[in-house]
Amino acid sequence: MIENIKSFLGSFFVTGDPMIYGADASIALASIGIVFYLTYFKKWKWLWDEWLTTVDHKKIGIMYIIAAILMLFRGGVDALLMRAQLIIPNNTFLTSQHYNEIFTTHGTIMIFFMAMPFIFGLMNIAVPLQIGARDVAFPFLNAVSFWLFFLAAMLFNISFVIGGSPDAGWTSYAPLAGLKLDPGVGENYYLIALQISGIGTLATGVNFLVTIFKMRAPGMTLFKMPMFTWSTLVTSIIVIFAFPVLTIALALMSIDRLFGAHFFTIEAGGSPMMWANLFWIWGHPEVYIVLIPVLGIFSEVISTFAHKTLFGYKAMVWSMIAISVLSFTTWLHHFFTMGNTAMVNSFFSISTMIIAIPTGVKIFNWLFTLNKGRIEFTTAMLWALAFIPNFTIGGITGVMLSLAPADYQYHNSYFLIAHFHNVLIAGTVFGVFAGLHYWWPKMFGHILNERLGKWAFWVFMISYNICFLPMYFIGLMGMTRRMYTFPSGLGWEPLNLIITLGAFGMGVGFLIMVWMIVYSAKYGKRDTTGDPWNGRTLEWATSSPAPEYNFAHIPQVETVDAFAHMKEKGTADSIYKAPFQAIHMPNDSGIPFILSVFFFIAGFGLVFEWYWMAIPGAIGIVVCMILRSFKDHDDHHHIPAEEVEQTERAAGRLS
């Protein structure tokens, strides 16, 4: 009996590595610390009422962003561990197995649990405000999306101390990820966690599509929408059409692994290649899901700080629409080398090059917006300006990779690693940082410290180039990706050393940024006007932080850059003029959180194939859905006119 328990615990908890024990201890300490803090300061009720049950898009956005920053930290630590291992030849800091696990969790976390939630967080904050709405179309569903993402992220992260991490890469290719070559629970974590967060993502796509179609302020036609809202609309459409493919692929592989089917194993006629095919049918649109929204952010930031209307509004919109259609026709460029026919490779080569055209159009539009603008170099603007050249390098190397014959040289080398970090970091990460600085006042009512922000920018941006530019060259010298060590004598030492130094420099940049956030919370300049940047779009028309109901009166829109126009005409105060009316708002609900906890329980059960746990979890899920489905009529309340007036007065809007 004792022996049994011992051997169970030995395989349940990851053992044997001092770093893991350190992590165990710090996780335990942090959890105890949080519980103690909440109990001692009697914050449990506050946590439940204000955050766990909220359906307010602004609070959900803030939670998304906090979670994304935590995940950026986790993924960043993974990256530093990898680079520490590769600082010198024949290093023994990490074993090959450990290295495999780390690049897998790094890639998966950065894409699914950092980039996407960060972007969804900013969408949640900004889009309803930009279109003059009181919330998203389905506030309850929005909370469900967030909690599914959050608990899926937790499920994925505990793999590291319980049961073992996935180790077949973020692409989880069959047959390597199949049961035969990869027994154990690691890949199950990958499959189930991504499945759960994918449901949330799909719901977010639907939610924002409907929000943007149905909830725009009167007068705001589609072609008067702010560019970030446009980018969110296009992204939502891509999400809706791309994510089902991932859902199916994950489900099929889960069935393979858990119930012994053979969709992706050669036995019984399955096809491992089909996994790569399905994965990238989703995967290429996915890179646009994390890119297009930040293109919207850059458009907002550049036009605000160049103090000009965006150049070529229509061209911007149509290029995004073109990207969304074309993004579904290029997926094969991720596996040119899998032995497809020449016709197939040529077709996908060309379609990939074509998609560079609308992207190039956008770059020129930003340059023309800057031309003759009165440019103000705020931190947000610095991130946006740095994006243009750095991203273009990634774009050009992308076109190089799209040439199928040449790709046989570049494929799966560090050249590829450099390319996709060049687009993911200079695109997505710079973009969300720009958005964070830009919308921070709207979220919290104060401005992030500019001096620290600029320090973080320069340290991060320069280190980023020190880290990733040499990767192109070391890739051409023959170093492949996912290599856990390298021999001496190949001439790779200097570049690997430089790359690692750059990576740690980015870590320093991140720390400065965290310090900036803490510092600004205490000493940051308060934003009393609601319009710290002399903004052009409606989110700046309301106070900072935005009140629960967003706008006391729904604004009337006449042109693009609606708020800039209102300020010119002198009608900016029309949204907070007395008399006020009662405002209809959605009720908070605990169901999204509880539902997601059941998803977590069911998911954990499936990972370990403990059906005594998975089945009750699944029943819990269904019960929550039934409870919600038959209780539709009491889900809203009214904020009385007097309370609106008080809130506006407290924000200093009524004299």
């Binding site: 059409f241 026709t329 997926w331 899998m338 032995g339 026919t341 197939v344 539709d632």
Partner: protein
Amino acid sequence: MSANNHELNKFPWKHVIGLALSLILTLLALWVVVSLSLPTVATLTIIVLLAICQAFIQLLMFMHINENHGRGYRILAIAFGFYIAAVVVYGSLWIMWFTV
């Protein structure tokens, strides 16, 4: 708003029936594949037919395909859906043809 509220307070028969039918069709497909050992072509034909029924049920019961307002959007959405489906199916077949 009030007309809508009225509709909301009624028991949502349409959705419940739609859900039940979707579940039945899905289980039926599973049963055909797992429990019957029909020839491959027959199995495929049956599950494709079931999938088509499933698609119609989803469109009718949940996606309000037969409502009148917003027709333009709906046609656009369905056309885009067909485009994606065609790209995925024909694309995969074309790619896989020489490699399976």
